[in-house]
């Protein structure tokens, strides 16, 4: 590590090159596929080619005879030997239909890709060969694919045991009773009736999501003495462990989950608890040998990574001087089968509905969401968890209001941003702290709107079409227990164990498993700054339920908000003890604040001759714990928990400039500028990377990526020729600037960042396109947005 701490002598705020990178880029990373256990077998799934069919027969006899095959597991076996995945630990705390399901399909297959059998063989090639020999008899059933049509009385039912395809419905405004909600609905209607301006749009967002570089993988090992150990590409090992124990009926102390040290991206899609994990774990116990499954890219694109997929019919009422008055939204989410543990496909649209009001003040709101089953893969969480579609709708609607009253969209936004926090939105979301106006004004300084309008006018005179578009987003910064418990039956606190060893090295253990966000580096900087040591002398271990404190997972930007805070708390406890002992050893009375931890030493500020090396004092306390002050015992290790009293947020604003070529509808993003309130920044390089990555992900989702099912329910986008990702040549440079307000509720003033970040992107992009083509009065209410679509609109408007 060649970077130095900043001028204040602190590692905080330093662009430290990441500790992870050297091993990752020299092939020394240890991913699940790098782990080899003696006697390990390889598993491959046989999956349904039909979107909806009765499973008449699964004949594995030929597969069992194939070379190298050790076993073939079917749904019947899973059903009779394990519990279902419908377990309390995997159920949200929300009133929805939760149809029972098992590790493999039983009776019916419900989507193209539904796993029907698992073949286990001595090598992976033999497993694939044998999988081809499994003969499945299907009796096709009619498919239901359109979420609105799925609500018809005569629509085919995805789940036989459920009365219909409506999985979940909720109104997020008005109150807890039907009467209160009806009253609110009427009041909102009154506002709409009397408002100067009303806009309405049916905003449809396609199925798209995330595609981490590393697909899923599960390696499970069983022994009579130690029970089950699962190496799992999971963001949530502690939750997974409970699920394994409950489903496989293992005593909780005999189940251990280890998220491998390195994971190639998660972005939410490694947060659910998956069926495949159960089947692999079951198999290793049955066979008494380790079993490993590595998901192919084809499987991954078929079965997971699909999110967004909503239709939001949104209306906004406003006054003619640009005051937003009320919003009214009817949301429809198509969650596929809904059968993936923890989130069941719908917790995302749930949160998306909650986030609809965004960062604006509203007098009233009326939002309702219906979540619907179809014969498609279940939605899995993706960065911007559920609010990518609702934010697209809101940011477009705000622009539509601005256009109608002839006001600059940026002025309209500023007029309506929540001016003072804390604030509670009309859907009950609590915004704890921050200064939205400061963030916005910083953005506008970067943008220089008057100069752009001049540039735009000149370009138009030359027949070139430039446009500018704005968007903003309030995001969750971690998820407090106050929200996590009612939503997901899971806690929100952060937890960290910190241990200082006799050589002055500091070990940090955390239960949340990162997927490449650079947690090792960020945490090392916090610890180094706190103890005045080098980041190289810190070691972070994450994701092993056997050795780390309970954490509910790397989700919802919990690192910068919860985990980092817990680390700081634990470090402060140890600093307290170190200074207590040192003062005692020095024969002085002094508080912790009177000591500085700097450059490897602990120094008494009033008399700097009184000092001790950090390593020396650590050794003294851990190895030679005699003559300690009263009440102290030896050792330097503690576990700390952090929870904010109320949920916390972060906030960001985007501006993008585009150019559109009329003859082809092709467009280019010329520049993308952002303004961020991310609280105090520990490593600006990592935060910059998060922001840039999120913008690029949002653009790729909005323009290029789309999961498509044809009219037979066949998923047609299972390779990267068909599911297109943006390349480096397709995305703009993203200029990230900061206008932060330290968070008053975390010890370091940090906020969790990066998770929700893509959601403001599609609105900003489409706003820019509409602005560019303002002379032709075209509208964009659907994604993906592509040149062919834009060109059709231009043709329809008579522009070409």
């Amino acid at each position: 590590m060649s970077a130095k701490p900043d001028d204040r002598g602190s590692w905080m705020g330093t662009r430290l090159p990441r500790k992870e990178d050297l091993r990752l880029i020299t092939g020394q990373g240890k991913y699940v596929a790098d782990i080899v256990l003696p006697g390990m077998l390889h598993a491959v799934f046989v999956r349904s080619d039909y979107a909806h069919a009765r499973l008449v027969n699964v004949d594995v006899s030929a597969a069992l005879e194939a070379p190298g095959v050790v076993a073939v597991i079917t749904g019947e076996e899973m059903k009779s030997h394990c519990r279902s995945l419908r377990q309390p630990v995997l159920l949200p705390n929300l009133p929805a239909k939760y149809p029972t399901y098992y590790g493999l399909a039983v009776d019916k297959v419900k989507f193209h890709g539904d796993p029907v059998a698992m073949v286990i063989a001595r090598d992976k090639y033999q497993a694939v060969d044998a999988a081809e020999l499994v003969v499945v008899d299907y009796e096709e059933l009619p498919v239901v694919l359109d979420p609105e049509a799925a609500l018809d009385a005569d629509a085919p039912r995805v789940h036989d045991e459920e009365a219909d395809n409506l999985m979940f419905e909720m109104t997020f405004t008005g109150g807890g009773t039907d009467e209160e909600r009806a009253k609110n609905e009427a009041e909102v209607e009154k506002i709409f009736q009397s408002a100067d301006v009303v806009v309405k749009g049916r905003f449809r967002v396609h199925r798209t999501g995330t595609t981490p570089m590393e697909t899923r993988g599960v390696l499970a090992e069983w022994s009579a003495s130690d029970g089950l150990t699962v190496y799992n590409t999971t963001q949530r090992p502690h939750i997974d462990r409970l699920a394994f124990a409950d489903i496989l009926d293992i005593p909780a102390e005999k189940a251990r989950v280890i998220a491998p040290r390195d994971m190639g991206g998660g972005f939410g899609l490694k947060a659910p608890f998956y069926r495949e994990s159960v089947v692999v774990a079951y198999a290793c116990r049955k066979l008494g040998r380790p079993v490993r499954w590595i998901e192919s890219r084809y499987e991954s694109l078929m079965n997971i990574g699909q999110e967004r997929g909503q239709i939001n019919t949104l209306e906004v009422a406003a006054s003619k001087d640009g005051k937003l008055l009320a919003l009214r939204n009817r949301g429809i989410a198509d969650v596929g089968t809904g059968q993936i543990g923890v989130y069941w496909g719908f917790v995302m649209p749930f949160l998306g509905a909650v986030e609809m009001p965004n960062a604006y003040t509203w007098e009233a709101g009326d939002t309702n969401l219906k979540v619907i089953f179809t014969n498609k893969a279940c939605l899995t969480p993706s960065r911007a968890f559920g609010h990518f579609p609702t934010r697209f709708a809101m940011e477009r609607a705000v622009d539509m209001v601005a256009r109608k009253i002839g006001m600059e969209p940026s002025d309209l936004r500023r007029r309506n941003l929540v001016p003072r926090l804390p604030y509670t939105s009309v859907t009950g979301e609590y915004y704890d702290s921050g200064d939205f106006l400061k963030v916005w004004d910083n953005l506008m300084v970067q943008v220089d709107l008057p100069a752009f309008r001049k540039e735009q006018a000149e370009a138009r005179a030359q027949g070139r079409y430039l446009g500018i578009g704005f968007g903003c987003g309030v995001e969750l910064s971690g998820v407090a227990s106050e929200l996590m418990v009612p939503m997901e039956n899971q806690p929100g606190y952060g937890a960290a164990t910190v241990r200082i060893d006799p050589r002055g090295k500091v070990f940090i253990m955390g239960g949340d498993a990162p997927g490449g966000q650079g947690h090792e580096t960020t945490i090392s900087q916090i610890v180094a700054a706190t103890f005045g040591i080098s980041p190289e002398d810190t070691i972070i271990t994450t994701g092993d339920t056997g050795t780390t404190p309970f954490g509910s997972g790397t989700i919802g930007a919990r690192m910068g908000s919860y985990f980092a805070s817990a680390v700081r708390k634990a470090c402060d406890e140890l600093r307290e003890k170190i200074t207590h002992v040192l003062a005692h050893d020095l024969g002085i009375r002094a508080t912790m604040e009177e000591f500085a931890f700097t450059e490897g030493e602990v120094v008494y500020q009033r008399d700097p001759s009184k000092r001790k090396g950090f390593r020396e004092i650590a050794e003294r306390i851990v190895m030679f714990p005699i003559n300690l002050p009263e009440g102290e015992v030896g050792g330097l290790e503690t576990t700390a928990f952090f929870e904010a009293a109320k949920p916390m947020i972060c906030f960001n604003a985007d501006a993008c400039v585009v150019e559109v070529e009329l003859a082809t509808g092709q467009f280019k993003v010329l520049r993308w500028q952002t303004s961020e309130d991310v609280g105090n920044v520990i490593n600006p390089m990592i935060v910059d990377g998060q922001m840039q990555g999120a913008i690029i992900q949002g653009l790729s989702n909005a323009i290029f990526e789309e999961f498509i099912y044809n009219d037979q329910g066949q998923q047609m986008t299972a390779d990267f020729e068909h599911y297109k990702l943006a390349t480096a040549a397709d995305v703009p440079d993203v200029k990230v600037t900061y206008a932060s307000t330290p968070c008053p509720h975390t010890p370091l003033g940090t906020r969790g960042i990066g998770e929700g970040r893509p959601s403001a992107v599609p609105g900003a992009l489409c706003n820019a396109l509409v602005d560019a083509l303002a002379p032709f009065d075209i509208d964009i209410t659907e994604l993906p947005i592509r040149p062919s679509v834009l060109w059709q609109k231009l043709k329809a408007a008579g522009a070409v």
Binding site: D49, A131, N710, Q714, D719, H722
Partner: protein, 191 residues
Amino acid sequence: MELKDQIRINAPRERVFAALNDPAILKQAIPGCESLEATSPTDFTAVVAARIGPLAARFTGSVSLADIEAPVRYTLSGEGKGGPAGFAKVKASVELEEDGAATLLGYSVKADIGGKLGQLGGSIVDRTAQKLAGEFFQQFDALIAAPAEATDDAGDSKPVVMAQPPARGVGPVWWGVAAMIALLLAWMALK
């Protein structure tokens, strides 16, 4: 995907109809057909092995006939299974119209391709379907068309196949066209 076409077969309608009855003709007309077997009066299976360029596949097709109105029209539905490669489902209707001494054979086919082939084959599948349908009909036409100089001597005039009775004593079966279309489409689905 959908295919619709009308082919002129150089033989009278009755002969075309009878030839469509005849598994032997069909087996010859379908490139790569290894076997054709009846499993009931209106159902049968076939095994076809074929190639397009570097891609080769072998699959089992099964077909059922319905709505038979001899010698004018019928419908068929079928499925070809290509194992791990995927499957194809076919629904077709066939209509024969007299055109002097020849016959206009009109067919309308709807095929759904599923599994890997549908995903990876995509645009190639449609193209190949048309091509193979064309090849089939060309061969079928060659097998049963009247010779250029018609002769009164019945013994010299016709391709042998005409005279063969339907296999296994199963009445007039229309699996001919049904089979070949279904199988062709299932075949090309595997490309």
